[in-house]
């Protein structure tokens, strides 16, 4: 066990990077554990820094707030070189736990390939931990979504940003929320023909909460830039429209777009079939909460229906030694995440005896509160309406790993007496496969809610998120702890 740290930061995205450099600047000894091989997280995922010359475009291509990342990266590298930050890239925390009153311990495993560290070197202990594990695309099943060529919108963007590879030639981008525009613009800039961008909601929903929209003037500028790209590249933006079927023999060939009513249900007769080889799907984001739930931290259901960690205004969780920052405390975007990470690190520095900076802390708290107001507006403008279940067929796969269909799930509820998502999981096996319900957990809980008429609670979602082992590990990883 390596035990010379004050703080463990899990995740090197906007929140974690900001936290780590702030903590290092405050004199803390930091361990940064990150699944990727270089910092940036999903938001600033970029080409391999060791091979930049192999890529046609600059590493900043398709990025927002790149200057901020460059600054954070420079400070991060400097702190790593100075020994203030121990950087553990390419590793995932598969379990975090408290070790008595004084310490938090993170057990790590290698992300790809063979384990390179001796058993004793795989666990890290520190006095505090900041969970900054970020989020991934939230998905809703649709007939045909398992065909190759149907991808998560974030995955399509990752392929563009980190690999400079377009996942197709003719794309439909669909789901809800402003992220769809970012993905569509990225594809168009890469030369992909974007046949349609479909948002199940209307942009007019933003007008319902105008004061929330203006909390973040930067976001308005970003929106205006997308609008410009859409106009010049002639990308059709279809509101109150959903992808209700994806067709193809062994890959995506056709996509059915359909208008929806106020409930989000597809309107019969409004189908329009377009040819495409790529469908990018995104329904908001799901915070990555395995570690938080595993540690027994208090959680709640956020405005967007996602399970998030409960934090106070300094980003302390219900465990005094554990903080959470970024998307794990509510989806709010990169700039918001940076402020949260910085605030958490400053608060910990004060707790561990550094001189505080009351003005800086107050400024960050105001920044975080403002960002939160905007985020709530975004969630209210981009909900998942209940009618989506109407485009499911009994044969539609809900759990991609175990290939459990919508019909099997409704059968478990109607005929086998399974009345909450956890019951359905143990009865019909959705969420029992490789991804452990990360992809199907949200639609499964919504589907069971629709079937039973019982609203989902944070406890239901927690049960779907709770895994004693956060990521697949080798048996030897567990055996070596003994």
């Amino acid at each position: 066990m390596t035990n010379e740290h004050d703080l463990i930061v899990v995740g090197a995205g906007p929140a974690g990077l900001s936290a780590a450099v702030t903590a290092a600047d405050s004199g803390m000894r930091v361990a940064m554990i990150d699944a990727a091989s270089q910092p940036g997280g999903q938001f600033w995922r970029h080409p391999d820094e060791n091979h930049l010359a192999a890529f046609a475009h600059d590493e900043s291509t398709g990025h927002h707030h790149w200057g901020r990342f460059r600054d954070l990266r420079k400070r991060f590298r400097r702190a790593v070189e100075a020994g203030a930050i121990t950087y553990l890239p390419g590793r995932q925390v598969w379990r975090a736990e408290r070790d008595g009153e004084e310490r938090v311990v993170a057990h790590t495993t290698v992300v790809t390939g063979r384990e390179t560290r001796a058993a004793a070197e795989r666990s890290v202990a520190a006095r505090r931990m900041i969970i900054a594990t970020g989020a991934y695309d939230r998905q809703l099943p649709v007939p045909g979504w398992t065909l190759p060529g149907a991808m998560a919108a974030g995955g399509v963007q990752a392929l563009l940003k980190a690999n400079q590879v377009a996942a197709g030639r003719r794309a439909v981008v669909a789901g809800t929320g402003p992220f769809l525009m970012s993905v569509a613009a990225g594809l168009a800039d890469a030369g992909v023909e974007v046949v349609a961008v479909c948002d199940i909601n209307s942009l007019a929903r933003w007008a319902a909460t105008p004061w929330r929209a203006v909390q973040e003037p930067g976001k308005l500028t970003e929106g205006a830039a997308y609008a410009r790209t859409f106009l010049t590249k002639r990308i059709p933006f279809r509101m109150r429209t959903a992808v209700t079927e994806i067709r193809g023999a062994s890959r995506v060939e056709q996509v059915v777009l359909q208008k929806v009513d106020a409930n989000g249900s597809p309107v019969a007769g409004s189908e329009r079939v377009v040819d495409a080889d790529l469908v990018a799907l995104g329904w908001g984001f799901t915070p990555q909460l395995e570690l938080a739930v595993g540690l027994g931290l208090e959680t709640r259901t956020d405005v967007d229906g996602s399970l998030v960690v409960v934090v106070d205004d300094a980003h302390r969780t219900s465990d005094p030694a554990v903080y959470a920052a970024g998307e794990t405390t509510g989806i709010g975007g990169a700039v918001q995440s940076c402020a949260e990470g910085e605030l958490a690190a400053l608060t910990i520095a004060e707790e561990l005896g550094s001189a505080g900076d009351a003005r800086r802390t107050a400024r960050l708290r105001r920044r975080v509160a403002r960002g939160r107001r905007f985020a709530i507006g975004m969630h209210l403008a981009s909900p998942v309406p209940p009618g989506w279940t109407d485009w499911l067929r009994p044969s539609t796969i809900v759990c991609r790993c175990e290939e459990v269909t919508a019909g099997e799930i409704t059968h478990a509820v109607r005929d086998l007496g399974a009345d909450d998502p956890r019951d359905v999981r143990v009865t019909a096996r959705p969420g029992m496969g490789w991804c452990q319900g990360r992809v199907c957990g949200y639609p499964l809980s919504k589907l069971v809610e629709a079937e039973t008429g019982c609203a989902r609670s944070a406890a239901d979602l927690e049960a779907l998120t709770k895994r004693p082992i956060g990521v697949p590990v080798r048996l030897s990883d567990i055996a070596d702890l003994a």
Partner: protein, 94 residues
């Protein structure tokens, strides 16, 4: 210098240093590389960021690697196939 290649089920696929195995396959026009155990359906990249495990491949004998996050290397042996196949008898891990 010749461009680097990975071997995908024996076939040479070019890539740029720094790309993932999944990106190399996609850039080559290969969109699926495993079949599911129940439906026998083709799968490739879905989440693209290491969350969904849909894109599993065997890389240099290491099973169940996520193609979306494994870096491609020159001469790498990448095999498609069924990740649910029974495990061979355990070899001694170094």
């Amino acid at each position: 210098m010749s461009d680097p290649v990975i071997r995908f089920d024996g076939r040479a696929i070019p890539f740029r240093e720094g790309q993932t195995v999944g990106a190399a396959l996609m850039a080559d026009g290969t969109s699926s590389w495993r079949t599911t155990r129940r439906g026998g359906e083709p799968r490739g990249l879905f989440c693209g960021i290491g969350v969904c495990f849909d894109c599993l491949v065997t890389v240099d004998g290491q099973r169940d690697q996520r193609a979306c996050i494994v870096a491609a290397c020159d001469g790498q042996d990448v095999r498609s196939g069924n990740p649910d196949e029974p495990l061979p008898l355990p070899e001694e891990d170094a």
